[in-house]
Point group: C2
Chain length 181, copies 2
């Protein structure tokens, strides 16, 4: 951040009065520009014993597989975000169920949420951000080609919980970035 989005003057990084952290503060209109973590919301949509997965057509992780998920928008709920992302990336309609995982990713200032969901019909196809969309059984999932760690964790929780026959809410955090390739 270099300029004030309110008045266009230069900003400087300093600790505002009564605050504890450095913020971008406008030198002219004194607006304090806070920066906050982002929510990424997705859906684990089931059809019988299969899960709806998308292969990414965009960076980061072009060509890798993921659950439909993306940045939450203003004016929507987390459940609406899960359904919207599924509609956009997999052109699929779901009934959103319970919140299933919440995973903090502090080193990129994100919080990832995944809802369990029920796929409503088989009329799905790749959206603009997907190369392909598929319904995959556990043994068909390309485990070494999953785009994001939080998605891989969510999928592993799912198949473990299905074997155990109960569905706890999983809440955890990733303390460290992934190792470099």
């Amino acid at each position: 951040m270099n300029f004030c989005s309110n008045c266009g003057a230069a900003v400087e990084l300093r600790i505002p009065p009564g605050d504890t952290l450095p913020r971008y503060v406008c030198r002219q209109c004194t607006t304090v520009h806070y920066q906050n973590p982002k929510l990424v919301v997705g859906a684990l949509a089931q059809w019988e014993d299969r899960i709806l997965l998308c292969r990414r057509a965009i960076e980061p992780r072009h060509g890798f597989w993921t659950l439909p998920a993306g940045f939450m928008e203003n004016d929507e709920t987390t459940a609406q975000a899960a359904a919207r992302e599924t509609a956009e990336e997999a052109r699929a309609r779901i009934e959103v169920g319970e919140l299933y995982t919440m995973i903090d990713v502090p080193y990129i200032s994100q919080v990832h949420l995944v809802y369990r969901a029920r796929l409503l019909d088989l009329d799905f196809s790749a959206g603009e951000e997907s190369l392909e969309v598929a319904l995959l059984r556990e043994d068909e999932i390309p485990w070494d080609q999953i785009a994001f760690r939080t998605i891989g964790m969510t999928l592993r929780y799912f198949f473990e919980d299905r074997r155990r026959g109960n569905w706890p809410f999983h809440c955890t955090s990733l303390a460290l970035p992934p190792p470099a390739p």
Copy 2:
């Protein structure tokens, strides 16, 4: 938003290629400035049969009671945010437990999280944003002077769950703004 925080030129509201919603886009450097919901994180800290509450010294809702809570910062986890807000607003140390409530507040583009927590000692006091801090029993809580609906809901869930002796995770949303005063 009037100006680009990257280059200082004027922004315009338009739908970028491949997108579906209007965004603030810089006329000069073409940066797209997304706006996303914010996470508010708090703690419901227990000491025996009492709960730690703060009376607000700032707007909105000056003079009303709340659980220690505030906007999540970059580079922290949600549990760290709960502990930090409790340290700042109630100058209190807690052991953060399970995530207890997640309530969507789409009409102000926020998601509110509250963790259950254990107060570690009785050495607490009002931080800069609080008029006073108190440990209150259920019958001492000023129910008609609670600052925010999500906090009132969380407190009611707590006392109901305590009576029932089980502690489910509560995940819901507030569909409509509160009635005008």
